[in-house]
Protein backbone atom coordinates (compact mmCIF):
# COMPACT_ATOMS: atom_id res chain seq x y z
CA UNK A 1 0.00 0.00 0.00
CA UNK A 2 1.68 3.20 -1.17
CA UNK A 3 1.03 6.66 0.17
CA UNK A 4 -0.74 7.50 -3.10
CA UNK A 5 -3.01 4.47 -2.64
CA UNK A 6 -4.00 5.77 0.81
CA UNK A 7 -4.58 9.25 -0.59
CA UNK A 8 -6.80 7.84 -3.33
CA UNK A 9 -8.95 5.90 -0.84
CA UNK A 10 -9.25 9.03 1.28
CA UNK A 11 -10.27 10.98 -1.82
CA UNK A 12 -12.93 8.41 -2.71
CA UNK A 13 -14.42 8.41 0.79
CA UNK A 14 -14.42 12.21 0.94
CA UNK A 15 -16.13 12.53 -2.43
CA UNK A 16 -18.73 9.97 -1.33
CA UNK A 17 -19.53 11.52 2.06
CA UNK A 18 -19.41 15.16 0.95
CA UNK A 19 -21.03 14.50 -2.43
CA UNK A 20 -18.21 16.26 -4.27
CA UNK A 21 -17.50 16.11 -8.03
CA UNK A 22 -15.76 12.88 -9.02
CA UNK A 23 -12.70 14.74 -10.31
CA UNK A 24 -12.07 16.52 -7.00
CA UNK A 25 -8.36 16.72 -6.22
CA UNK A 26 -7.25 16.40 -2.58
CA UNK A 27 -4.33 18.62 -1.69
CA UNK A 28 -1.96 17.73 1.16
CA UNK A 29 -1.95 21.19 2.68
CA UNK A 30 -5.70 21.55 2.87
CA UNK A 31 -8.07 20.49 5.63
CA UNK A 32 -11.42 18.73 5.44
CA UNK A 33 -13.07 22.04 6.27
CA UNK A 34 -11.70 23.43 3.02
CA UNK A 35 -13.89 20.87 1.24
CA UNK A 36 -16.96 21.77 3.28
CA UNK A 37 -16.81 18.99 5.87
CA UNK A 38 -18.25 19.39 9.37
CA UNK A 39 -17.06 17.41 12.38
CA UNK A 40 -19.30 14.37 11.93
CA UNK A 41 -18.31 14.20 8.23
CA UNK A 42 -14.66 14.04 9.21
CA UNK A 43 -15.17 11.19 11.70
CA UNK A 44 -17.25 9.33 9.13
CA UNK A 45 -14.64 9.75 6.39
CA UNK A 46 -11.71 8.75 8.61
CA UNK A 47 -13.52 5.71 10.04
CA UNK A 48 -14.52 4.66 6.52
CA UNK A 49 -10.94 4.92 5.30
CA UNK A 50 -9.67 2.93 8.29
CA UNK A 51 -12.23 0.23 7.56
CA UNK A 52 -11.18 0.02 3.91
CA UNK A 53 -7.51 -0.10 4.88
CA UNK A 54 -8.24 -2.57 7.70
CA UNK A 55 -6.27 -0.49 10.17
CA UNK A 56 -7.24 1.16 13.43
CA UNK A 57 -5.59 4.40 14.47
CA UNK A 58 -6.19 5.32 18.11
CA UNK A 59 -8.46 8.32 18.53
CA UNK A 60 -5.77 10.20 20.44
CA UNK A 61 -3.31 9.90 17.52
CA UNK A 62 -5.67 11.95 15.37
CA UNK A 63 -5.85 14.94 17.71
CA UNK A 64 -2.76 16.59 16.23
CA UNK A 65 -3.70 15.99 12.62
CA UNK A 66 -4.61 19.29 11.00
CA UNK A 67 -4.12 18.68 7.27
CA UNK A 68 -5.04 15.98 4.80
CA UNK A 69 -1.34 15.34 4.21
CA UNK A 70 -0.78 14.65 7.91
CA UNK A 71 -3.76 12.32 7.96
CA UNK A 72 -2.50 10.38 4.95
CA UNK A 73 0.88 10.03 6.64
CA UNK A 74 -0.71 8.68 9.84
CA UNK A 75 -2.84 6.19 7.91
CA UNK A 76 0.05 5.16 5.68
CA UNK A 77 2.21 4.54 8.75
CA UNK A 78 -0.55 2.35 10.22
CA UNK A 79 -0.67 0.35 6.98
CA UNK A 80 3.11 -0.04 6.98
CA UNK A 81 3.08 -1.20 10.61
CA UNK A 82 0.49 -3.84 9.75
CA UNK A 83 2.52 -5.11 6.80
Amino acid sequence: MTRDDVLDILRQETIDILDLPADTVMEDGKSFADYGAISIDIVTIVSGVMRRLNVSVPRQDLYDVHSLGQLVDVLHSACAAKE
Binding site: I40, V43, T44, S47, G48, M50, R51, S56, R59
Partner: protein, 260 residues
Protein backbone atom coordinates in the same frame (compact mmCIF):
# COMPACT_ATOMS: atom_id res chain seq x y z
CA UNK B 1 -30.91 5.32 3.15
CA UNK B 2 -33.11 3.05 1.01
CA UNK B 3 -36.32 1.75 2.59
CA UNK B 4 -36.08 -1.56 4.41
CA UNK B 5 -38.30 -3.89 2.46
CA UNK B 6 -36.50 -7.20 2.13
CA UNK B 7 -38.55 -10.10 3.52
CA UNK B 8 -35.32 -11.57 4.85
CA UNK B 9 -34.96 -8.71 7.33
CA UNK B 10 -36.90 -10.25 10.18
CA UNK B 11 -35.95 -10.92 13.78
CA UNK B 12 -35.21 -14.48 12.69
CA UNK B 13 -33.27 -13.28 9.66
CA UNK B 14 -29.58 -13.36 8.83
CA UNK B 15 -26.98 -14.27 11.42
CA UNK B 16 -25.70 -11.15 13.14
CA UNK B 17 -22.62 -10.40 15.21
CA UNK B 18 -23.40 -8.96 18.63
CA UNK B 19 -21.34 -7.46 21.43
CA UNK B 20 -22.93 -7.88 24.87
CA UNK B 21 -21.44 -6.30 27.97
CA UNK B 22 -21.81 -8.03 31.32
CA UNK B 23 -22.61 -11.34 29.67
CA UNK B 24 -21.22 -13.87 32.11
CA UNK B 25 -24.04 -13.86 34.63
CA UNK B 26 -27.60 -12.85 35.42
CA UNK B 27 -29.76 -11.43 32.67
CA UNK B 28 -26.69 -10.83 30.50
CA UNK B 29 -25.88 -14.53 30.40
CA UNK B 30 -29.48 -15.18 29.41
CA UNK B 31 -29.08 -12.74 26.54
CA UNK B 32 -25.85 -14.41 25.42
CA UNK B 33 -27.55 -17.83 25.48
CA UNK B 34 -30.60 -16.64 23.56
CA UNK B 35 -28.53 -14.83 20.93
CA UNK B 36 -26.12 -17.71 20.37
CA UNK B 37 -28.93 -20.28 20.25
CA UNK B 38 -30.61 -18.11 17.60
CA UNK B 39 -27.44 -18.51 15.53
CA UNK B 40 -25.90 -15.11 16.13
CA UNK B 41 -22.20 -14.71 16.82
CA UNK B 42 -21.64 -13.15 20.23
CA UNK B 43 -18.67 -11.41 21.77
CA UNK B 44 -19.50 -10.87 25.43
CA UNK B 45 -17.65 -9.25 28.28
CA UNK B 46 -17.12 -10.04 31.93
CA UNK B 47 -15.18 -8.18 34.60
CA UNK B 48 -14.30 -10.81 37.19
CA UNK B 49 -16.22 -13.97 36.30
CA UNK B 50 -13.71 -15.58 33.95
CA UNK B 51 -14.64 -19.13 34.86
CA UNK B 52 -18.36 -18.46 34.43
CA UNK B 53 -17.70 -16.79 31.07
CA UNK B 54 -15.57 -19.67 29.84
CA UNK B 55 -18.16 -22.20 31.02
CA UNK B 56 -20.93 -20.32 29.22
CA UNK B 57 -18.93 -20.21 25.99
CA UNK B 58 -18.13 -23.91 26.30
CA UNK B 59 -21.79 -24.79 26.89
CA UNK B 60 -22.89 -22.87 23.83
CA UNK B 61 -20.11 -24.32 21.67
CA UNK B 62 -21.76 -27.70 22.20
CA UNK B 63 -25.18 -26.50 20.98
CA UNK B 64 -25.81 -27.49 17.34
CA UNK B 65 -26.32 -24.45 15.15
CA UNK B 66 -25.35 -21.98 17.84
CA UNK B 67 -23.32 -18.95 16.86
CA UNK B 68 -19.74 -18.42 17.87
CA UNK B 69 -19.11 -17.16 21.42
CA UNK B 70 -16.13 -15.03 22.35
CA UNK B 71 -15.70 -14.15 26.05
CA UNK B 72 -13.59 -11.05 26.71
CA UNK B 73 -12.47 -9.49 29.96
CA UNK B 74 -13.44 -5.82 30.15
CA UNK B 75 -13.79 -3.30 32.95
CA UNK B 76 -15.83 -0.48 31.48
CA UNK B 77 -14.59 1.88 34.20
CA UNK B 78 -11.20 1.71 32.47
CA UNK B 79 -10.81 3.28 29.02
CA UNK B 80 -7.81 1.12 28.11
CA UNK B 81 -9.67 -2.05 29.07
CA UNK B 82 -12.62 -0.98 26.90
CA UNK B 83 -10.36 -0.19 23.95
CA UNK B 84 -8.55 -3.52 24.23
CA UNK B 85 -11.66 -5.67 24.56
CA UNK B 86 -13.47 -4.00 21.68
CA UNK B 87 -10.41 -4.11 19.43
CA UNK B 88 -10.13 -7.84 20.18
CA UNK B 89 -13.80 -8.37 19.37
CA UNK B 90 -13.52 -6.45 16.09
CA UNK B 91 -10.51 -8.50 15.07
CA UNK B 92 -12.74 -11.58 15.17
CA UNK B 93 -16.23 -10.29 14.34
CA UNK B 94 -17.75 -7.49 12.25
CA UNK B 95 -20.05 -6.38 15.07
CA UNK B 96 -23.55 -5.32 13.93
CA UNK B 97 -25.10 -4.43 17.29
CA UNK B 98 -23.96 -3.60 20.80
CA UNK B 99 -26.04 -4.47 23.87
CA UNK B 100 -24.98 -2.39 26.88
CA UNK B 101 -26.02 -4.57 29.77
CA UNK B 102 -23.20 -4.38 32.32
CA UNK B 103 -24.07 -2.43 35.41
CA UNK B 104 -23.60 -1.86 39.09
CA UNK B 105 -25.89 -0.79 41.92
CA UNK B 106 -25.49 0.45 45.48
CA UNK B 107 -28.53 0.69 47.70
CA UNK B 108 -29.07 3.05 50.60
CA UNK B 109 -30.33 6.47 51.54
CA UNK B 110 -28.91 9.30 49.47
CA UNK B 111 -28.27 11.21 52.69
CA UNK B 112 -25.85 8.51 53.79
CA UNK B 113 -24.25 7.66 50.46
CA UNK B 114 -20.47 7.91 50.19
CA UNK B 115 -18.89 9.64 47.20
CA UNK B 116 -17.11 6.43 46.25
CA UNK B 117 -20.37 4.49 46.01
CA UNK B 118 -22.02 7.15 43.89
CA UNK B 119 -19.02 7.41 41.59
CA UNK B 120 -18.68 3.67 41.16
CA UNK B 121 -22.29 3.29 40.02
CA UNK B 122 -22.23 6.27 37.68
CA UNK B 123 -18.79 5.38 36.31
CA UNK B 124 -19.92 1.85 35.55
CA UNK B 125 -23.43 2.40 34.27
CA UNK B 126 -23.21 5.75 32.52
CA UNK B 127 -19.59 6.66 31.82
CA UNK B 128 -18.83 3.04 31.02
CA UNK B 129 -21.62 3.00 28.45
CA UNK B 130 -20.22 6.21 26.97
CA UNK B 131 -16.76 4.63 26.66
CA UNK B 132 -18.15 1.57 24.89
CA UNK B 133 -20.33 3.62 22.52
CA UNK B 134 -17.49 6.01 21.69
CA UNK B 135 -15.24 3.15 20.64
CA UNK B 136 -17.93 1.42 18.61
CA UNK B 137 -18.95 4.61 16.83
CA UNK B 138 -15.70 4.51 14.89
CA UNK B 139 -16.58 1.00 13.77
CA UNK B 140 -20.24 1.74 13.00
CA UNK B 141 -19.44 4.96 11.12
CA UNK B 142 -16.92 3.09 8.99
CA UNK B 143 -19.58 0.58 7.91
CA UNK B 144 -22.38 3.17 8.03
CA UNK B 145 -24.67 1.01 10.10
CA UNK B 146 -24.93 -0.24 13.64
CA UNK B 147 -27.33 -0.57 16.54
CA UNK B 148 -26.92 0.31 20.20
CA UNK B 149 -29.32 -1.27 22.67
CA UNK B 150 -28.99 0.01 26.22
CA UNK B 151 -30.48 -1.97 29.09
CA UNK B 152 -32.25 0.65 31.18
CA UNK B 153 -34.56 0.63 34.14
CA UNK B 154 -37.83 2.11 35.33
CA UNK B 155 -35.64 3.44 38.14
CA UNK B 156 -34.65 6.17 35.63
CA UNK B 157 -37.78 7.98 36.74
CA UNK B 158 -36.58 7.96 40.34
CA UNK B 159 -36.48 5.22 42.96
CA UNK B 160 -36.13 5.49 46.72
CA UNK B 161 -33.00 3.82 48.04
CA UNK B 162 -31.42 3.64 44.57
CA UNK B 163 -30.49 7.24 43.78
CA UNK B 164 -27.15 6.55 42.09
CA UNK B 165 -28.58 3.71 40.02
CA UNK B 166 -31.63 5.79 39.09
CA UNK B 167 -29.51 8.78 38.11
CA UNK B 168 -27.18 6.63 36.03
CA UNK B 169 -30.08 5.02 34.17
CA UNK B 170 -31.69 8.41 33.54
CA UNK B 171 -28.32 9.44 32.12
CA UNK B 172 -28.27 6.39 29.89
CA UNK B 173 -31.59 7.46 28.41
CA UNK B 174 -30.07 10.85 27.59
CA UNK B 175 -26.97 9.21 26.15
CA UNK B 176 -29.06 6.95 23.95
CA UNK B 177 -31.30 9.76 22.73
CA UNK B 178 -28.24 11.84 21.87
CA UNK B 179 -26.67 8.97 19.95
CA UNK B 180 -29.93 8.50 18.07
CA UNK B 181 -30.01 12.12 16.98
CA UNK B 182 -26.28 12.60 16.35
CA UNK B 183 -25.71 9.39 14.36
CA UNK B 184 -29.15 8.53 13.01
CA UNK B 185 -28.26 10.31 9.76
CA UNK B 186 -25.34 7.87 9.39
CA UNK B 187 -27.42 4.70 9.66
CA UNK B 188 -26.78 4.15 13.37
CA UNK B 189 -29.63 3.65 15.84
CA UNK B 190 -29.78 3.73 19.62
CA UNK B 191 -32.60 2.57 21.86
CA UNK B 192 -33.19 1.74 25.50
CA UNK B 193 -34.96 -1.35 26.78
CA UNK B 194 -36.20 -0.17 30.15
CA UNK B 195 -36.79 -3.00 32.58
CA UNK B 196 -39.20 -3.35 35.44
CA UNK B 197 -38.64 -6.04 38.06
CA UNK B 198 -37.06 -9.10 36.46
CA UNK B 199 -36.18 -12.51 37.86
CA UNK B 200 -32.41 -12.84 37.96
CA UNK B 201 -31.85 -9.15 37.34
CA UNK B 202 -29.89 -6.68 39.41
CA UNK B 203 -33.09 -5.11 40.67
CA UNK B 204 -34.49 -8.47 41.69
CA UNK B 205 -31.37 -9.33 43.69
CA UNK B 206 -31.63 -6.08 45.62
CA UNK B 207 -35.40 -5.81 45.81
CA UNK B 208 -36.89 -5.79 49.28
CA UNK B 209 -39.83 -8.05 50.07
CA UNK B 210 -42.06 -4.99 50.16
CA UNK B 211 -40.91 -3.88 46.69
CA UNK B 212 -41.51 -7.34 45.29
CA UNK B 213 -44.97 -7.41 46.84
CA UNK B 214 -45.69 -3.93 45.49
CA UNK B 215 -44.73 -5.14 42.03
CA UNK B 216 -46.81 -8.29 42.15
CA UNK B 217 -49.80 -6.31 43.43
CA UNK B 218 -49.71 -3.37 41.04
CA UNK B 219 -48.16 -4.73 37.84
CA UNK B 220 -51.10 -5.29 35.47
CA UNK B 221 -49.66 -8.67 34.52
CA UNK B 222 -49.17 -9.66 38.20
CA UNK B 223 -45.72 -11.09 37.58
CA UNK B 224 -42.08 -10.18 37.32
CA UNK B 225 -40.29 -10.29 33.98
CA UNK B 226 -38.43 -13.31 32.63
CA UNK B 227 -35.20 -13.51 30.67
CA UNK B 228 -37.11 -14.53 27.55
CA UNK B 229 -39.04 -11.25 27.69
CA UNK B 230 -35.79 -9.33 27.35
CA UNK B 231 -34.20 -11.61 24.76
CA UNK B 232 -37.11 -11.41 22.33
CA UNK B 233 -37.15 -7.60 22.46
CA UNK B 234 -33.39 -7.14 22.30
CA UNK B 235 -32.99 -9.60 19.41
CA UNK B 236 -35.71 -7.75 17.51
CA UNK B 237 -33.87 -4.46 18.06
CA UNK B 238 -30.64 -6.10 16.85
CA UNK B 239 -32.28 -7.32 13.67
CA UNK B 240 -32.53 -5.69 10.28
CA UNK B 241 -36.27 -5.37 10.91
CA UNK B 242 -35.67 -2.67 13.50
CA UNK B 243 -33.57 -0.19 11.54
CA UNK B 244 -36.31 2.49 11.74
CA UNK B 245 -36.68 2.14 15.52
CA UNK B 246 -34.46 4.89 16.85
CA UNK B 247 -34.25 7.03 19.97
CA UNK B 248 -36.92 5.05 21.79
CA UNK B 249 -37.30 3.88 25.37
CA UNK B 250 -39.11 0.56 25.16
CA UNK B 251 -40.58 -0.38 28.52
CA UNK B 252 -40.60 -4.04 29.50
CA UNK B 253 -42.61 -3.65 32.63
CA UNK B 254 -45.81 -5.59 32.21
CA UNK B 255 -47.52 -2.21 32.30
CA UNK B 256 -46.16 -0.85 35.59
CA UNK B 257 -43.88 2.01 34.54
CA UNK B 258 -43.22 3.35 38.01
CA UNK B 259 -41.18 2.33 41.03
CA UNK B 260 -41.90 3.46 44.62
Amino acid sequence: MPPVSSPTLTPDGPRRSLFITGGAGGLGAGLVRAAARAGHNVAFTYRTSASAADALAADLAAVPGAGRCLPLRMDQRDTDSVEQAISAALTELDIDAVILNAGAAKTGLLAQMEDADWLEVVDTNLTGAFRVCRRFLWHFLGRRSGQFIHIGSVAAGGMAGHAAYAASKAGVEGLSASLAREYGPRGITSNVVSLGLFDGGMGSEQASDSLRQFWLTHCPQRRTGHGDDIASTVLFLCSGAATFVNGQVIRLTGGLDWAP
